[in-house]
Structure formats: C-alpha cells, structure tokens
Symmetry: C2
Subunit: 350 residues, 2 copies
C-alpha cells in the first residue's frame, strides 16, 4: 500500500477527512448493464458468476467506466454473493430473476457449509482481478474492494433470493437469535478474510454494503447490522492501520449517527432517502460522507438532475465528501446522463 | 364529535399529549387475512373493492378484531386506492397480484380524471360504513378514518401497481415537476374532502399513510411528501379544531423530525426501522408517537416478540405513546400471537 499518512488521490484525501478542492466522484454499479460495452462482454462471458470469476473480463468491465468517464475510483467488478458461493452454498444468477440460492435456515444448513478458511482459496480469481486492476488503473484512480455486510448476505442465504421484507432471515433471527448469530459470526469471519485478501492484492479502500440494514428494528440492528460491521472494521484496522473503510447501511435513518460512531468506519455511504442537511449536521462531523443522488434522477437527467446534484454538493461539499448515487445505477440509465453528471460534479467549486 | 378539551378515551388522551397510565394499542391492518372470520366474509363479498364499498360487510370486518382482542381503536376497513377509483381511474384488485390500475403519467391522463367534487359522492358507501361503526363501536374504542398520502397514492396512479422503486412516479416528478405537482394538488384536495367526510360521519381521528415517503430525496420529499401532508393537516385543523391527525411517513429517517414539526400532525407513526431511543429524543418531545414492533416479530411470537415489545414500551411509554406495529400485519400472523401481544401491552406499567 502507498504512504497512508499523506494521501495524494482525491478519494483518499476525502476519506482522510479533508475537504477537497474538487469533489471526488464514483457511482455504485458504475460497471454495468447501462453500458453497451459491458453488455457486449457480458454476452460472451457465460453466466454472471463466470464473469465475476474471470480475471481478464472482470478487469475489463471494471475499467470500462473509468475509460469512459474518468471516475476517481474503480470498484472491483464482483458480487456480494461470492462469499456464500465460496462457503459452498449453491448460488446461481438467472436472467431476469436475479440470484437464486438453496436456502439455509437452520443449524443443519450451517453445518453443511464449508470452512471459512476455504473462502479465500475459492475466491482466488477475484483477488487476481484486483491485482490486475492495481497494475492497469491510472495512477490517480483509487481502487475499491467490497463485500456485502453479514446481515444483507444472510438475507439472501436464508431467503434464497432477494425479498422485499427479508422475511426468512428475520424469522430465523426472531425465532432463534442464537442460531442466527452463528450464521452472522461465520459471515463476519469470512468477510474479514475476503476483504483482507482484496487489500493484500491491492485494494486501497473497501466498502461494506448493508443494503437491508434499514429493515431491522433497533435491537436487531444493533446485534446483526452494527456489531458485525464494527467487528469487521476493527479487524481490518488492526491488520491494515489507516485503511479507509466505507460502510453503507442503507435505510438506517436516525440510527446512522450511532452506527457511524460505533463501527469506526472512515466513510459513511448515504442512501437516497437521507437528507443532506441532516447528514451535514449529524454525520459529516464524524467523517467523510458519500452519496446520494437518486439513481432515477440520473435516468431523468436534465435540470432536475443538475439541480438536486447541486443541492447535495452545496450542502455536503463544505466538508469531507465523495459524490455518489444513493443506490446503484439502474440499467435504463442513458450513458450520456452519466457524462453530464460527472462534468457537473467536476466543475463544482464550493 | 365529543368534547375535545378533555378526552376520555385512552387513544385520544395519548394524542392530546398525555402520558397515559396504560398504553393504548391498535395494529395497522388489524382487520385482515390473518383472521379466519375475515377470510370467511372476504370469500362471500365478491372483489376486494366490493367489500370496501359494502357498508354492512366493511363494518363487520372492522369490528372483528375489536371483538376478538379489545383494541383501543378501530380503523375503518377501506383502502387508500378508493380515492383514485373515485376520481375515475380504473382500479382493480387481482388475487395474489395486488392492485392494478390503468397508469396515468402525463397531463392528458390527469385531464381524463373526474372532478374532485365528485369524490365524496362516489365514496358515500365508505362514509356509511363510518356512520354504522360510530353507532356500533363500544364506547371506549376510538374510530380512526384514513387516507393515503398524495405521494403514495400517486406512486400507484403513475405506476399502475405497487413497485419496489416507485420508478414511474419518480420519473414523472423528476422530468416534469410542475406537471406532477398538478397530480399532487388534485390528491391534496381529494384527500381533504375524503377525510372530512369521514370525520363528518363520525371518525374521531384520521391517519395519513405515506408508505413510500422514504424513497424520495430530500428536495422531492419536501415538495411531494411533507408539503402536501402539511396542507391536509392545516385544512383539517381549520375545519375541525382539535381533530387529531396521525401521519405515517414510512422510511422518512432523519427527516421525520422536521416532518412532524412542519406538518402539524398530532401523532407520528414510526416504521419498524425507527429507533425508539432516537424517537424518544427527537420526535416524542413534539407529540404523541405510535409504533413500531416489526410485524415479523408478531409472526415469530415468543420471547423475542415480548422482549422487543418491552423495549419499545419502556423507551416510549414514558411519554404520549400508542403501541402499534411498524407496518401492517402480514397474513401468516398466528392470531394467538396477537392476543399474546395485546395482553403484554395491556399489562405493562411504566
């Protein structure tokens, strides 16, 4: 890793707590189906997981949006479900359906999983992608690795697919909190190993996606969202002092304040529903925040997009800040709107 | 309406800002498919809307949970989509699919709607249900009327059905904010008339459901969620001084604080994801709060349900508070868990 005491890259400066002269920008799911060059690679790659496990192609799709838009960060092309896949749970991605897993909802299901020690071996192709990116990325672009947070990954492992209410995971957690905690503990360990291997391979920042954090009631949020991410942050900071970790507890609402403080994350991702004014008052004093343009504003484009982006920039650009969306880019996004947004953010001076 | 200066009913006392000796309880969607007696009526009623427009049967299903559990409030059995139906938009409820509407996404669609003045005429059977309930409810049970908030109703009107991302309404709002505002204005007016007619027929409290408030970015939340509900509260308070209005801006997160203050609502419904500790500090000082047990805890039952209910009661029971769920009861809820929860809440003394 490069000298962490005086970061030169824009994104690393922001994560170190600096208000930067120009605002760094990258977008969640910036490598994806809205790009014709992505769809071309995707069509040739086989399954979605085949693409994730093909270092040459995964490198290529990671680089595509960097070439096109000059983002300040590249995020490894991969998926949060490679961890259950590496643990031995059957994961498939079906066209138009999203991920489908053989659900695990009890101790017997957990017992059938492989050991955490096997995860980084199974995911070697992912770390090879990171190494390739480390070598091929322009020197001013930060390389971000990532993983799903234990709670969010567990919702897929228990539900077998995405669900609007995370019912399977919640019912397990509510009926058998100790048993469910065993799953979370496995995922904490596996996530630490998976993120560490990404850092070893060259990732300069890691982001932890907790897409479904906001659906949990407070007591369960503490146990299954906040605490596991705190454990992961602690372990990473012990292994890699100074490593910036961004946590993204989507929908955490008022609980985000305590979450940011207690987890020890260096940056906090804000979802679309977070008020920038509120974040400036309650979150940014604790560190760098990242977000949070509505992905559908990027689909709409025009002056509503620019106006709402300007609002976010004017409120949060006064402190350490990374511009991003509030959730991932959607496939129907016109690529020219992304170019317009990048130009708008790059031209912004507070 | 009864003497509002000194309410006798438990729910009205809480909404007047009193800390009550025992905590009032009702549950969102307490009349519904989890009850065998409801399923029986439903099977005989024809379509779901036929049931909503049948005063005798709608009265019966409203009363069923009161008989069974002795809740402190009965909420009119109806649906938020009766308003677009009354405005002339085609609404149907398909088994296993939920509501299906002919989508309206532009000015031409708005022009084809009937006048707001026709809404209360079309919904006369709903008000007849309210009148019947007024006469038949036990004297200590509060009668709650309700409507959807303009934003949430608009998401169905534009999308034609429920959607995880409210894309159709958002894209309209982002591409043509003035045109979309015309739809919101129609809904503000229609909602004021619809709620007023319920109060005239005997509703003692009204609740405004903004199920999708939390998906809006701050600037749009201000325009399309907060402001319309403020207009509705203002109009109702002018017509009916002292009428308690409960607003339920689901997912509003940190924006709930300002929302509660600015709308002038008398009570604020908290969704599952709101931290009771946070609400006690930021929301309850402004008035009565209501919520927020996870509906899946009610499915799970047992000590996790009782434990999390106790936590909510101990944190929020010190001030004006109404116990409820954080979202509606789900069909797979065992009726005996509801009985257990009511007993637990009724036995609580802070």
């Amino acid at each position: 890793m490069s000298d962490r005491t005086a970061p030169q890259k824009l994104l690393l400066k922001a994560l170190a707590g600096e208000k930067t002269a120009s605002i760094p920008i990258w977008l969640m799911r910036q490598a994806g189906r809205y790009l014709p060059e992505y769809r071309k690679v995707r069509a040739d790659a086989g399954s979605f997981l085949d693409l994730c496990y093909n270092p040459r192609l995964a490198e290529e799709v990671t680089l595509q949006p960097i070439r096109r838009y000059g983002f300040d960060a590249a995020i490894l092309f991969s998926d949060i479900l490679v961890v259950p896949d590496a643990l031995g749970q059957k994961v498939a991605f079906k066209e138009g359906e999203g991920p489908v897993l053989e659900p695990i909802t009890d101790a017997a299901g957990l017992a059938a999983l492989g050991p955490v020690s096997g995860v980084t071996k199974a995911l070697a192709p992912v770390y090879e992608t990171v190494s390739r990116l480390k070598a091929s990325l322009p020197s001013d672009v930060t390389l971000i690795g990532f993983a799903g947070a234990p709670w969010t990954v567990a919702t897929y492992m228990a539900g077998g697919r995405g669900s609007p209410d995370q019912a399977a995971a919640k019912l397990w957690a509510f009926r058998d909190p100790m048993g469910f905690k065993d799953l979370i503990d496995i995922l904490v360990e596996a996530t630490i190993e998976h993120l560490s291997a990404q850092v070893d391979a060259g990732a300069e920042v890691v982001q932890i996606f907790d897409t479904w954090a906001g659906s949990l009631p407070e007591l369960s949020f503490e146990r299954f969202a906040l605490k596991p991410v705190q454990q992961i942050c602690d372990a990473l900071h012990e292994r890699y002092p100074g490593l910036p970790v961004i946590a993204f507890p989507r929908g955490a609402g008022g609980m985000a304040e305590r979450y940011f403080k207690v987890t020890g994350a260096n940056g906090l991702g804000l979802d679309t529903g977070v008020s920038p004014a509120w974040a400036k008052q309650h979150l940014q004093p604790q560190g760098c925040v990242q977000g949070n343009l509505d992905p559908l504003l990027l689909v709409a484009g025009g002056h509503e997009m620019r106006g709402q982006a300007s609002y976010i920039l004017s409120v949060l650009g006064e402190g350490p800040f990374i511009f991003n969306l509030g959730h991932g880019i959607v496939p129907q996004t016109p690529p020219e709107h992304v170019a317009e947004l990048v130009k708008h953010v790059k031209g912004w001076r507070s």
